[in-house]
């Protein structure tokens, strides 16, 4: 068998492959040399790009919040201003038939978008207040590098705090409400950035609901003692309290609102009734009414 033609073919093929690889490398090197941009730059820092050749050419820069077309002189440094590169994201730069991409990344945290929920919470309840903080730099870019965030909930000088570190630009915390009612200052802070929200802590469900009953001119007047939650906070006026009178011939129910700390209701006259009181899920005492006794 004559191997020579095959060897020649293999050698030629190899040389052509090497030549192609060299051409590719040359092309890549030429491309990189003409648009030598870093992989990423910090937002608002600007960029200087060397250029080669002579004469003028059109520079294009397309990115978030940016679309620029301008004439530049080849062979001179091309300046991209801080203003042109303030938004984080991916940019395409094109010059004289060559193009490249690079990223602008967010700077340090300067502001916080703070979600605080809910706006009203019952007192002395665990994990009822949630705070979510998104960190942004001064150009409103989401800061993705981990940053410490502190959450503080303060009512009447009592503070509960949690610390978290942002992950993917966000940190969150769940906190207990205070035992005492009042406007709670809910603050999220990171570095010099701080945001405050107000969460109103209100009395929780009534505790030890108690009433008395007395005859009056139209029937039976049932009246509660001052109503407080288990932490001693007065339950807000307007809260519904239900009085029920049960006797042999039927049942009478009156829904009354707390007014100035107490609730009262006029029930039908009776010589033998069981009177009960409740508010929400809380049941108070029962009175066995025996003709005014």
């Amino acid at each position: 068998m004559n191997k020579a033609p095959m060897e020649v073919a293999v050698k030629c093929g190899g040389m052509m492959t090497i030549a192609l690889l060299l051409m590719c490398c040359f092309a890549i090197a030429t491309h990189a040399a003409e648009l030598n941009v870093p992989a990423s730059v910090a937002a608002g820092s600007g960029l200087t790009i060397p250029s080669s050749g002579s004469g003028s050419a059109t520079l294009y820069l397309i990115g978030p919040g940016t679309a620029i077309k301008r004439t530049v002189q080849l062979g001179q440094e091309i300046q991209l201003s801080a203003e042109e590169l303030q938004n984080a994201g991916r940019y395409v730069i094109a010059l004289d038939g060559n193009s490249a991409t690079f990223f602008v990344t967010a700077g340090s945290a300067q502001s916080i978008a703070f979600l605080a929920r809910p706006s009203r919470v019952p007192a002395d309840t665990p994990n009822v207040v949630s705070g979510t903080a998104f960190l942004f730099d001064k150009y409103q870019n989401l800061v993705l590098a981990p940053q410490p965030v502190k959450f503080e909930l303060t009512v009447n000088g009592q503070t509960e705090s949690r610390s978290d570190t942002t992950k993917n630009g966000v940190a969150f915390a769940k906190l207990d409400s205070s035992r005492k009612e009042g406007p709670a200052q809910f603050v999220a802070s990171s570095g010099a950035a701080s945001v405050r929200r107000v969460v109103q802590v209100v009395a929780s469900d009534p505790c030890s609901l108690r009433m008395t009953a007395a005859r009056d001119k139209n029937g039976i007047l049932a009246r509660t003692d001052p109503i407080h939650d288990c932490a001693g906070n007065p339950v807000p006026d307007g809260t519904i309290v239900t009085f029920t009178s049960t006797e042999a011939k039927g049942k009478s129910t009156v829904d009354a609102r707390i007014k100035q700390g107490v609730a009262q209701a006029e029930l039908p006259a009776s010589n033998n009734a069981t009177i009960s009181v409740a508010s929400g899920v809380v049941v108070g005492n029962e009175i066995q009414w025996r003709g005014g006794q």
Binding site: S40, Y60, G63, R90, T105, R117
Partner: protein, 175 residues
């Protein structure tokens, strides 16, 4: 159990969607792009199934809107899907494109999206999107840049009246 929602989106020339559901997933079939949204790792709150579907629908819609707006230089299209910073930055891009006579023709070749954060009160969600895009930057009718790119996006969406809207959309080097 959380579901992996697989969505394939086909946009006809008239922008008509065809919706097909399969067990354990929902599929929007179409010819341009596909999106897979995984909510299994969203914290601290689990993503409800209805939220998952709404999110996929609104995120896909936002991409279609953005692609059309950047191609046609119509910032007015953005309002339905973008608010806040994302809307402002995209609108500025479009205004600048318009002034310079530029536009971007983006062909959406598919997304893989993972929800990484869902706020405790349910009003904000963060997505990591790996998008496969054919990007052509045009100066009038002249092509000045073309590429097939895999681009990583961080998207922050907030709940609006009856939809999710993108508040932040940032391309990042990686996750």
């Amino acid at each position: 159990m959380k579901l992996v929602l697989r969505i394939g989106i086909a946009v006809t020339a008239l922008g008509i969607f065809v919706l097909v559901f399969v067990p354990g997933s929902a599929v929007l079939a179409a010819n341009a792009a596909s999106i897979a949204i995984n909510t299994d790792h969203a914290t601290p709150r689990e993503v409800e199934e209805t939220t998952q579907k709404a999110l996929a629908r609104d995120y896909a819609s936002a991409w279609q809107t953005m692609i059309a707006a950047l191609d046609q230089n119509r910032a007015g299209l953005l309002g339905a899907n973008f608010i806040g910073t994302a809307n402002e930055k995209l609108s500025t891009t479009i205004q600048e494109q318009n002034k310079a006579g530029l536009h971007q023709h983006i062909t959406d070749q598919g997304h893989t999206v993972e929800a990484v954060f869902y706020s405790p009160e349910g009003s904000a969600i963060e997505l990591h999107d790996t998008a496969h895009l054919q990007i052509d930057v045009m100066d009038g009718g002249k092509l000045i840049h073309t590429e097939n790119a895999t681009v990583h996006y961080v998207a922050l969406l907030t709940a609006a009246e009856n939809s999710w809207k993108i508040r932040v959309l940032e391309a990042v080097p990686g996750f």
